[in-house]
């Protein structure tokens, strides 16, 4: 299945892109996706235990099972205000 990925702030700078689309087996979890992204963007590897994921605008933990066309965002520690 195809998953849309968005990178923001620090992770966007490290990945050197603001978005991408990856192909991943059906029923993959966020953890599987995280492993794949770290492989594709080795600059992100130092953050691998810090990355928070959002799926379709909601925070989800790493056991969350992805669906086709989900929009995933890698959320660095927020600092609004």
């Amino acid at each position: 299945m195809l998953i849309k990925i968005k990178f923001f702030a620090l992770y966007k700078e490290k990945a050197k892109t603001k978005d991408t689309v990856v192909e991943i087996p059906n029923n993959s979890t966020i953890q599987d996706l995280c492993d794949l992204l770290i492989e594709n963007y080795p600059n992100l590897s130092k953050f691998k235990n810090n990355i928070i994921f959002a799926v379709n605008y909601e925070y989800q933990d790493n056991t969350y099972i992805l669906s086709d066309n989900d929009e995933i965002a890698l959320i660095p520690p927020v600092s609004g205000g």
Partner: protein, 135 residues
């Protein structure tokens, strides 16, 4: 109401939107960019957001305040892009019948925003630039 914008925030306009003759208390909080962080001089700040998710999370804050305190006159506005020193990055305006709930709700809004809303601030110093809360 919520707003995420690259334009300068107008706190008076925002405050006027929450005024209500049945209310006795109006609180306006302004987050402004500080000249110093840990004694280092800041040149400029830049804010970035995951806009649709940030809007959704701000709406959740508003809904939680409605449920928790029965306060319905709330406006949260956040600026994005470059923000000069002393300029306003955040406005939270709340009005309610009594002041205690307005203070509690206003602090809740800011605290929750700083924990959950996907907005990021980059500080530019003389010699470097750094995302705040970088892990």
């Amino acid at each position: 109401m919520i707003k995420i914008t690259e334009k300068k925030l107008d706190p008076e306009l925002i405050t006027n939107k929450v005024k209500n003759p049945e209310n006795g208390a109006v609180i306006t909080f302004l987050g402004t960019t500080r000249k110093y962080t840990d004694n280092k001089k800041v040149i400029l700040l830049e804010y970035e957001a995951y806009i649709p998710m940030a809007e959704l999370k701000l709406k959740e804050i508003v809904q939680n305040i409605e449920k928790k305190w029965n306060i319905y006159d709330i406006y949260i506005a956040h600026r994005l892009g470059k923000v000069e020193i002393g300029e306003i990055s955040l406005v939270v305006a709340i009005s309610s019948q009594h002041r205690k709930s307005a203070f509690a709700a206003c602090q809740y809004a800011i605290d929750t925003l700083k924990l959950t809303v996907p907005i990021w601030k980059k500080e530019f110093f003389q010699e470097e630039a750094k995302w705040v809360n970088e892990p």
